[in-house]
Symmetry: C2
Subunit: 392 residues, 2 copies
């Protein structure tokens, strides 16, 4: 018979999940209550307010979908697309590709606009596509590409969507809480995120927010959304309004944890959180470069919370990541798709974005890189990071 | 600014979530690790084995869907139905109706066979429908109707499905762990359940299992499943095989909790768990009847874990449930649909199925009923339950 599972204590510097604080884990483990309990309803209302603050929106339709970020993505697509709709999708990494898969499965006519992995979405190419397809009803793009570490100009892209009478769908899974996500300021129509990145909550929920134009589109649907579970008309019966009609059983404890994680972000303040991510990113980047590593993404488009670096020649990707895990209990992320075996993705997300993690990562990588290449000083990374902190 | 949310300590005797033990809550709060961590993969394999035991199946395709039971239902429908398929659905409560909604949204031609709420699905009517629709490809029914407390004869219904060359889809959300769910013995093709009922885990996951005929149907699909998130071809890349390809970020901590909850069930033994549910049901039923209440479901079809009783005349449904919550911190379930305001649903699920809960419920109801009706002895319920325990 198996035993109780006691996980190792890791430092999580991959593409998510990120380190979860004791405070969030304690919230998670509080006693389960009913999903229609008045005390729970009060908590839901607070959670909604905290989510609106994090998203910088006044959208009433703002809630956590009861499933991971991929389901948040699907929520946007199944509610906003009807079969035959033309959808323009920007693809500069894995998650743009996933958007396309979603749109295809909704019966959309999908127009894909590709940019090189590691580059931001090019607004000029998007504008060309919008001009060429005046029938398009949706523009979808990824704000922070978790597969590459590139940020795109969400403000410019949302403005183009509005200008060409499209709704925008924005993937903010990795950005929310780490860099500015300004839903109302951008005029974004539908945005989804995840809990296990810069919010440092456990994985399994997907915050979403929908603006008035998106809600109007949902109300004007000619046929029901193809997903019952993700149908916002039904979900809103539980999350919105007075009646709180049962739709599905909410993941009660995970929502306690998200409430606590959002409260922590609120206490720190959004701008302080962004500054913290920028600070530790600068230190980590200085250290990685001192160890001879190069970034995939140009400085102006780099996500502070997701650092994609090329794996130094002569190092075995899987072997190094295994040793980091076994010798340092440190997780960093592998490359995906064309980046597999070529790139590491080093996360500095939420609670994991702190000085001791930067130092641990640089110490561990310094050790393994120095071992493989005598020309590299194993301590150079930490020294460079410390200098960056001193200069800050 | 809101404070941390400290939920009240409830006794959960509604239709789920049920009481979650400290052991499961402690597992839930263990440190988050990566969803591709080797330690996590080992845990997943154990969890799969424990789920197979609970479902009484050797099906390789047995795993927890990363979302609540409604998503487990949708997983079965979107993977097994192609547009135009004829699907026969037995409907004797809310969840049969939800199955129909799911099938409709998959583009099925849906044939609904109705039975009265509180009655089991009638196999004769199902056989008539199967005879009348030789083109039918799926028979879907609910084993344990959570909205009414009625059990149906899953063995007979699965046998009919096989006889008429249909796949069976079985809702075992409320049955798993509380009464016999014999997936291989029944020859069931696709079965889904939930974690927050007789498994007494937190809500948010949906165990599913698919047999060989169902897997063959998935492999023979002409078009992809309409849901990317629930596409088992993709999900299996993560849960099955050697490679563990990333699909979505698993709800790591919730899976710790499910592992622990299944371990607890395994330690007790399935048959002991069923006996425990039967024992406390008998005591509760004796007590409720001593308080003058009557059951909705005939004895031979009653679910021990979900007791639907008519609300005594002269009592205000909502007011009584509010007082139970406020004065006893006890949750019982309201009626749904035509049962709203007419029926209470009293759960005895998993960890909540124990003598102190039976006594608390009878004491609380006895007090409130006795207050409203001088002819009722407030202690009669507890006395009758105690006598039932003594006789057992």
């Amino acid at each position: 018979m198996p035993d109780s599972f006691i996980p190792p204590q890791r430092t999580l510097m991959g593409p998510g999940p990120s380190d979860v604080s004791d405070r969030v884990l304690a919230a998670l483990a509080r006693p389960t209550i009913g999903h229609l309990d008045p005390a729970f309803i009060t908590m839901m209302d607070e959670l909604k307010g905290l989510l609106q603050s994090a998203f910088r929106t006044r959208n009433a339709l703002t809630l956590p979908v009861s499933a991971p970020g991929s389901a948040g993505m699907e929520t946007c697509f199944v509610n906003l697309i009807e079969p035959g709709d033309t959808v323009i999708i920007a693809r500069n990494g894995v998650f743009g590709g996933r958007m396309q898969e979603n749109a295809d499965r909704c019966g959309a006519r999908t127009i894909t606009v590709d940019d090189e992995w590691g580059r931001p979405v090019d607004p000029d190419k998007i504008e060309d596509a919008l001009r060429a397809h005046p029938e398009a009803r949706i523009l979808a793009f990824v704000h922070a590409e978790t597969s590459t570490g590139a940020r795109s100009d969400a403000r410019a892209l949302c403005a183009l969507a509005t200008q060409y009478d499209c709704l925008s769908i924005v993937d903010a899974v990795t950005s929310l809480g780490g860099i500015d996500v300004d839903v109302d300021g951008w005029g974004a129509d539908a945005v989804y995120s995840g809990t296990q990145k810069c919010l440092s909550c456990v994985p399994g929920l997907s915050p979403v927010t929908f603006g008035d134009r998106a809600v109007a589109r949902i109300h004007a649907r000619r046929r029901k959304a193809q997903s019952w579970f993700l149908d916002l008309d039904l979900v809103m019966g539980y999350w919105g309004g007075e009646k709180r009609a049962y739709h599905h059983t909410a993941p009660v404890n995970a929502l306690y944890a998200l409430h606590e994680a959002l409260l922590i972000l609120h206490e720190e303040g959004l701008e302080n959180a962004w500054r913290r991510h920028a600070l530790h990113h600068r230190a980590l980047a200085a250290g990685l470069e001192a160890l001879g590593m190069t970034f995939v993404v140009a400085p102006e488009w780099r996500l502070p919370q997701l650092n994609s670096v090329r794996i130094p020649a002569g190092l075995d990707d899987a072997a190094v990541r295994r040793r980091l895990l076994e010798e340092y209990s440190l997780e960093i992320g592998a490359g995906l798709g064309p980046f597999a075996g070529q790139v590491w993705r080093i996360g500095l997300m939420g609670h994991a974005c702190r000085r001791e993690n930067v130092r641990l990562c640089l110490q561990a990588l310094g050790h393994l890189i120095g071992e493989a290449d005598a020309a590299i000083d194993a301590d150079a990374g930490i020294s460079a990071a410390d200098a960056a902190y001193t200069a800050a």
